[in-house]
């Protein structure tokens, strides 16, 4: 136990003494995401502003007097066009809609520009008016926000965690092997299992910090991003239990990711080789995020037995407001058990001269 602590402390010291390393692993991810999301937010905001602020404009020909009041309530009716200039304005996006009422018993003609979001809205409104429907959007803002978050966040989170692990694990294991410093450790009477546990514990903690930095960047830029899609995203949407579940799942996931990358790094001869070998695993992890979008809340309980994929599922569930307690329990247990198996594998690798000395 004491040696495990000694190894953990050394890994921490190594990490924090290397300014370049902790800047790239801790500061940069958060900063980059914050900047990226703010820019994204600004772009969406300006797009949305273009559309949503004013009511749609329409040029209406032959409007029956009986309809006039109803249409004026919905559209900003423009009179200063001719049939020809109105079509040009529609094409240019200056006008959103043209409605031509028939003089006899013919059909109503609606002209719109499908390239313009606002014109599409105007078109839908007009169709409803003509058919005499009432359109009521029942989606409340929170559930829209939840749907967005529950599909996007698991994937993004897995990627962030993965890159956090990539920032530290190959360097600490393949790097030590490459530089010949792991052999120095292996001639000491320290148990190989202690080296494996110490390294994975320390690297997981650092990877978690790196993930936290990304998450912080994401959270801090959320108001900007949320504002751009019309609000509705707020931390108050979720309770303490939700956050605890997500945290537990993230923790167990990081253990697995660090252990897997450590195993690949122990197998590789150099950091460069490790980074290459890790690519298929990264794709697999991203696929977990992608598939969790589709599996959604209808996932059968069996899916919670698949490590990492189950993490994406749980996070997706929690964010969409459908907490599955059994799923969370299975996920955390499965992930921790799987991580333990991986630690055992890493220990065996440290014991293998063929792997540790394959120059």
């Amino acid at each position: 136990m004491k040696t495990v602590l000694t190894i953990i402390k050394k890994e921490f010291a190594r990490f924090f003494k290397d300014t370049r390393l902790w800047i790239t692993a801790l500061i940069l991810p958060g900063l980059l995401i914050f900047a990226l999301y703010n820019i994204m937010g600004s772009i969406i905001e300006s797009e949305v502003e273009k559309g949503a602020d004013e009511t749609c404009t329409a040029y209406i020909v032959n409007m029956p007097d009986s309809q006039s009041a109803a249409y004026s309530a919905i559209f900003d009716i423009k009179d200063d066009y001719t049939n020809q200039t109105a079509e040009d304005a529609l094409k240019d996006g200056k006008l959103d809609l043209i409605i031509v009422f028939p003089t006899d018993a013919g059909k109503i003609q609606i002209k719109y520009n499908s390239a313009e979001t606002k014109s599409q809205t105007a078109y839908a409104l007009a169709v409803a008016m003509v058919a005499n429907y009432d359109i009521v959007d029942l989606a409340d803002e929170q559930s829209v926000a939840r749907t967005i978050l529950s599909t996007v966040v698991p994937m993004v989170l897995l990627m962030l965690l993965f890159s956090g692990c990539m920032a530290v694990a190959p360097e600490s294991i393949a790097g030590e092997k490459e530089r010949g410093t792991i052999a120095t450790l292996l001639v000491t009477p320290v148990k190989r299992s202690h080296i494996a546990v110490g390294k994975i514990a320390a690297l997981s903690a650092i990877a978690l910090l790196s993930g936290l930095s990304s998450a912080l960047g994401m959270l801090l830029s959320l108001p900007k991003l949320a504002g751009s899609v019309g609000g509705g995203i707020s931390f108050a949407m979720y309770g303490f239990g939700d956050y605890a579940a997500v945290l537990g799942v993230i923790l167990s996931t990081v253990l697995i990711l660090v252990a897997v990358i450590s195993i690949v790094s122990a197998y590789a001869k150099s950091v460069k080789e490790a980074s290459g070998l890790v690519v298929p695993i990264m794709i697999l992890v991203m696929l977990c995020g992608v598939f969790s979008m589709f599996a959604g809340t209808v996932a059968s309980i069996g899916l919670y037995f698949i490590p990492v994929f189950n993490s994406a599922l749980v996070i997706s569930n929690v964010l969409s407001g459908a907490v599955n307690t059994a799923g969370i329990a299975i996920t955390v247990c499965m992930n921790v058990a799987f991580a333990a198996v991986l630690v055992f594998v890493l220990t065996q690798m440290f014991k293998s001269e063929r792997i540790m000395f394959n120059k």
């Binding site: 004491k2 040696t3 010291a13 190594r14 290397d18 010949g180 052999a183 001639v187 001269e353 000395f357």
Partner: protein, 257 residues
Amino acid sequence: MEAILQVKNLNKTFKLSRKQRKLEGGAAYKRAVDDLSFTAYKGEIFGLLGPNGAGKTTTLRMLATLIKPDSGDAVIDGASIVADPYGVRSKIGFLTSELKLEDFFTPNYLYDFFSKLYNVPEETATARKNKMFSKFGIDKFAEVKVANLSTGMKQKLSLVISLVNDPDFIIFDEPTNGLDVLTAKTVTDYLVEMRGEGKTIILSTHIFSLIEKLCDRVGVIIDGRLVALDTLANLTAEKNLEDKFFDLYKSVKGEMQ
């Protein structure tokens, strides 16, 4: 004389990678150590002499428990390298230029780190560190990162750190390889000093003069096999070590052709 190391029928064969096979003329396996047996006694410097590729490093790595023998065993101060590798590791010091120290740490940090891994009590470790650092002139650089130390200083630090547990049995692969003359002298002087303290040293080298200068007994190893084992005095009774070695080499290689 009390035996401290008993090597019994050690064997080690490496499976060669495709690239290595070409260099070895197509063979899939390389027998690096072939039925090696010898004994080293307390308080002596024992030398393994042999050309490059003879199997010296492989032998010493097995003794240091970095790699496992295919068959055979060696017992160091009562601990078997096969049955009790952890016991062996805590009793020995293994020095080789292949064991590197991490660039990012200072000598001070690394000494303390390894002392803890060897479970040396803190006060003992501190006293030992002060003594060794001042002996090898590391004290002035104790807080300088390894990356910024001169090559000679790094090598001295490696030596000091592989002795944090003050072992009675020291394994040293090619002690003077890559050392500048001054560092080499410091190192060889220290080996003699340790022998004076009753410690046992087993070293490997291909340099005749080093054997002549340091060793009490010598094992000559060619192609993984021990072809001679005697005191330095007996081996060099008729002719000098170099001539004796080439006689042995000719007789072994001739018999094979």
